[in-house]
Amino acid sequence: MKVKAVAQNNVVLVKVLIQHVMETGRRKDETGKIVPGHFITELSAKHKGETVFQAELGPGVSKDPYLAFQFTGGNVGETVSVSWVDNKGGSEKVDSLISAA
């Protein structure tokens, strides 16, 4: 997962790019068998212990998900931590320093 956080005028823009198959559970492989669903279900971002972004995702989100959002009150040099979990118990967490625009 790549996280880029940029502060401008007290607003932090966060861009998140995750490598994930986001398998829908509806697609069939070459042999006609349904490929089991494997997708991210929850993603959240924290800044100074406070949740600033909270998303529930499903199979309708594209493969290798990209998400962008903003929050107020963050400053350059502080940390944003983004984490996700998927439906098979997979997870990832990345701490990213807020940089200047």
Partner: protein, 153 residues
């Protein structure tokens, strides 16, 4: 004939019970995920599972930015922006998908109004955004024409 009707019903019954137990366990893995809403195969069903039966009102305060024509339905870039006081939740649906609910966002106190993501669209259809605020749902929709469907069917 060592297998009486009664035994048969008993064994079938217990295997059904087993299946039911197994069906429940994976759901406990995600405590909060709105599985019923995400798995619902109609827009109305997904909305009912997510929000129950709330009054819906169209709103011009919700903006949906997306391409008019998406060449590849597997990656449709969308930005949604909701400027509704008291909003607690924002959800985006693609009406023509097998499972219309795409993503749902809880509004956090410091969160900004814009959210961007890339989503799948099976075919040409409406993107629908609902914002829950003050016991009501505010709605906006926008059509996206899809050249190649993105759900691999």
């Amino acid at each position: 004939m060592g297998f009486s009707r009664r035994q048969f019903i008993k064994s079938v019954g217990s295997s059904v019970a087993c299946a039911a137990v197994f069906a429940i366990i994976p759901k406990r893995a995600f405590a909060k995920w709105s599985d019923k809403a995400f798995m619902s195969e109609s827009l109305a069903g997904a909305i009912a599972a997510k929000y129950g039966n709330m009054p819906v009102e169209n709103s011009t305060e919700i903006k949906i930015k997306s391409p008019e024509i998406a060449e590849n339905g597997a990656y449709v870039p969308v930005t949604i922006s909701a400027n509704i006081p008291g909003a607690s939740n924002i959800t985006i649906f693609s009406e023509s998908n097998a499972a219309p609910l795409i993503a749902s966002f809880d509004v956090m106190p410091k969160m900004g109004p814009d959210i961007s993501l890339r989503l799948r669209m099976a075919k040409t259809g409406n993107l629908v955004v609902l914002v829950q605020a003050n016991g009501k749902l505010y709605k906006a929709s926008k059509e996206v024409k899809v050249t190649i469907g993105g759900c691999g069917g």
